[in-house]
């Protein structure tokens, strides 16, 4: 199995497109870093008036909350969260970090995870379909190796590739962030709000967790792209559909969720698990357990489709 994955890895890295992807990813981090440094850095780390500001902010939030209609439940909850965190800062004398630090830069760079996801999807969409396109599928499948193993090795390669891109993103953001903005004043706790209370978390652990949680989204869509690739042998279809869903899926789901309760069964309502650790669920009544169950169901369905069709298929092309 290790050799099969090695084979797939070689096939990915012997093509120049892969290096373009990695280059673009690093370039995106580099570009934002430099732009932030040049235009965004205010230079001052802490506003001396921060306590008054926070109190003012909290007052406004509370006023706003009273005026909200009942249906704006989600927004109300997010205001509640902001109020609680403000209160926690006041109570524990933790001024909000205003200047950019290496930590906040890594945090912000997480928005490039969907960029890394985009590239993973391209790889996933091609990994089965292009063997058919190249005609190499015939020589690949007449090895004394079961088709299940070959497909599994391809899937694992895609997942490893995703982790690899995430690592590149995280590390390049960390190197650049700490080089440009320093480590901040050592006050590196992250304030999270869950179940009505505020907790401090270690920043590094928090960031790694954030990256991993954000990639559940990517991994699910990648799995879907992989399934489409294996079932339809068409990488354009797999790429197009998956990228569309990657960028539009959660938006569309959020719109549906505002109206209908069944939105919670949609894949994209469940891909963002950070809503349970650090925010408010998209649809009322959703729990972490529910989302994990839904994700598992989707995952199993995708896998059954991919493996079922791939192992049974007559290779005629």
């Amino acid at each position: 199995m290790l050799n099969l994955i090695k084979n797939e890895w070689i096939k990915i890295f012997k093509r120049p497109g892969t290096y373009v992807m990695i280059g673009l990813l690093v370039l995106a981090v580099l570009g934002t870093g430099i732009l932030t440094k040049v235009y965004g850095d205010s230079g001052q780390s802490t506003n001396p008036q921060w306590k008054q500001e926070l109190q003012q902010e909290t007052k406004e939030y509370k006023k706003e909350m009273k005026g909200l209609p009942k249906s704006a439940n989600t927004y109300k909850q997010s205001l509640e969260r902001d109020i609680a965190i403000n209160q926690y800062r006041l109570d524990h004398n933790l001024p909000p970090e205003q200047a950019e630090t290496g930590w906040s830069f890594i945090y912000d760079s997480a928005s490039f995870i969907s960029f890394a996801g985009l590239f993973t999807i391209i790889v996933a969409a091609g990994i089965v379909a292009s063997e058919f396109g190249w005609g190499t599928i015939k020589l690949l499948l007449i090895r004394p190796i079961k088709r299940t193993k070959i497909l599994l090795s391809k899937y694992l390669t895609v997942i490893i590739f995703d982790v690899f891109l995430l690592a590149i993103l995280f590390i390049s953001a960390a190197i650049l962030g700490f080089a440009l903005f320093g480590t901040g004043d050592g006050n590196n706790a992250h304030l999270a709000y869950a179940n009505g209370t505020v907790v401090e978390q270690n920043m590094l652990l928090y960031l790694i967790k954030r990256y991993l949680l954000a990639s559940i989204d990517v991994i699910m869509i990648t799995t879907m792209a992989f399934m489409i690739s294996a079932v339809f042998r068409n990488s354009s279809l797999a790429t197009g559909l998956s990228i569309f869903l990657l960028f539009m899926g959660s938006t569309v789901t959020a719109i549906i969720a505002a109206q209908y309760n069944w939105a919670k069964y949609i894949l994209f309502a469940n891909t963002d698990l950070s809503q349970y650790f650090d925010g408010i669920p998209m649809v009322d009544g959703m729990t972490l357990g529910f989302s994990i169950t839904m994700l598992l169901i989707y995952f199993i369905v995708f896998m059954l489709l991919a493996f079922g069709v791939f192992t049974k298929r007559d290779v005629a092309a």
Partner: protein, 301 residues
């Protein structure tokens, strides 16, 4: 007789309700070159794809060295090396990297083995060039190389000479001869090129419309002791041909004779005062046989 290396038992393939292969049974012995002949669309490629597990078998079974291709896929395929149509390789890799891909997929293939195979197919000079720079003949050779890596007992080649020039065809033929002679491999070749098959194969199966029409040794086809000869004569009295099988054709007669009987026959005609304008053997080529068999099959179908 050696045990069969490949055995097909009542193999049938149905695609979308249509019988592509209908109850095909035959065996292939060790060390023989077995030809698979048939017009386009007869089911040659389908049969070969079933043998290597690229296509499922609707009913019946295929055994490779006693192992069922469907149930013991890995064990069966250990014994098979194959090229299905044009060997498509990863064009962005070099020839050597391509071979490494396949070598990694089977345990115990050493670097020496790869070098040996490369040497055998004569690609040593270009093996570290990218495959996209290869000619079709070189790709065919690389295809042969990948199929030899694990020392299979059976080589299965689907249309190996398609698109090759005469030199390339000859090269493939020579390689196959060497493999059967030196390594005792069995070879299964499919083709619609008759002359090719005649030169390469020991035994040939003709299939048409998914059915086995005929299976025979090549020598049976070509070197029958008795042969038909065409005599262009102005013969009025047929009595002279008593006890001799003959057939009246346009301008003369076709008479089945052994070679030694031909002068006697001519003498007989001249003695009877019959003018002979032309005598020629009607060479019964594989092609004649093929046409005979396949068109006959069509009439009955």
């Amino acid at each position: 007789m050696a045990s069969p290396v490949v055995q097909l038992n009542h193999v049938t393939k149905v695609i979308k309700g249509k019988k592509i292969i209908d109850d095909l049974s035959f065996t292939i012995e060790e060390g023989e070159v077995f030809g698979f002949l048939g017009p386009n669309g007869a089911g040659k490629t389908t049969t070969i794809r079933m043998m290597v597990g690229l296509m499922g078998i609707t009913s019946g079974e295929i055994l490779i060295c006693g192992k069922n291709v469907e149930k013991e896929f890995e064990a069966a395929l250990m014994n098979i090396g194959g090229i299905v149509e044009n060997p498509e390789m990863y064009k962005f890799l070099t020839g050597y990297q391509n071979l490494m891909q396949y070598a990694r997929m089977i345990k115990g293939i050493s670097k020496q083995k790869i070098d040996e195979v490369v040497e055998f197919v004569g690609l040593k000079e270009r093996i570290h060039d990218k495959v996209k720079t290869y000619s079709l003949g070189m790709r065919q050779r690389l295809g042969l190389a990948q199929s030899l890596l694990h020392d299979p007992k059976v080589m299965i080649l689907d249309e190996p000479t398609n698109g090759l020039d005469p030199a390339g065809i000859r090269e493939i033929r020579d390689h196959l001869k060497k493999l059967t002679k030196e390594k005792g491999m069995s070879v299964i070749v499919s083709s619609h090129l008759l002359s090719e098959m005649e030169m390469m194969c020991d035994r040939i199966a003709i299939i048409q419309n998914g059915k086995l029409v005929d299976i025979q040794k090549v020598h049976d086809y070509v070197n029958d002791t008795k042969q038909k000869y065409f005599f262009e004569v102005n013969l009025e009295n047929v009595g002279i041909l008593d006890n001799i099988p003959y057939e009246k054709v346009d301008k003369g007669y076709e008479i089945e004779l052994e070679k030694e009987e031909v002068p006697k026959m001519i003498q007989k005609f001249t003695e009877a005062g019959i003018s002979i304008y032309e005598v020629k053997p009607i060479a019964k080529t594989l092609e004649d046989r093929f046409m005979e068999v396949t068109t006959g099959g069509e009439k009955h179908a």
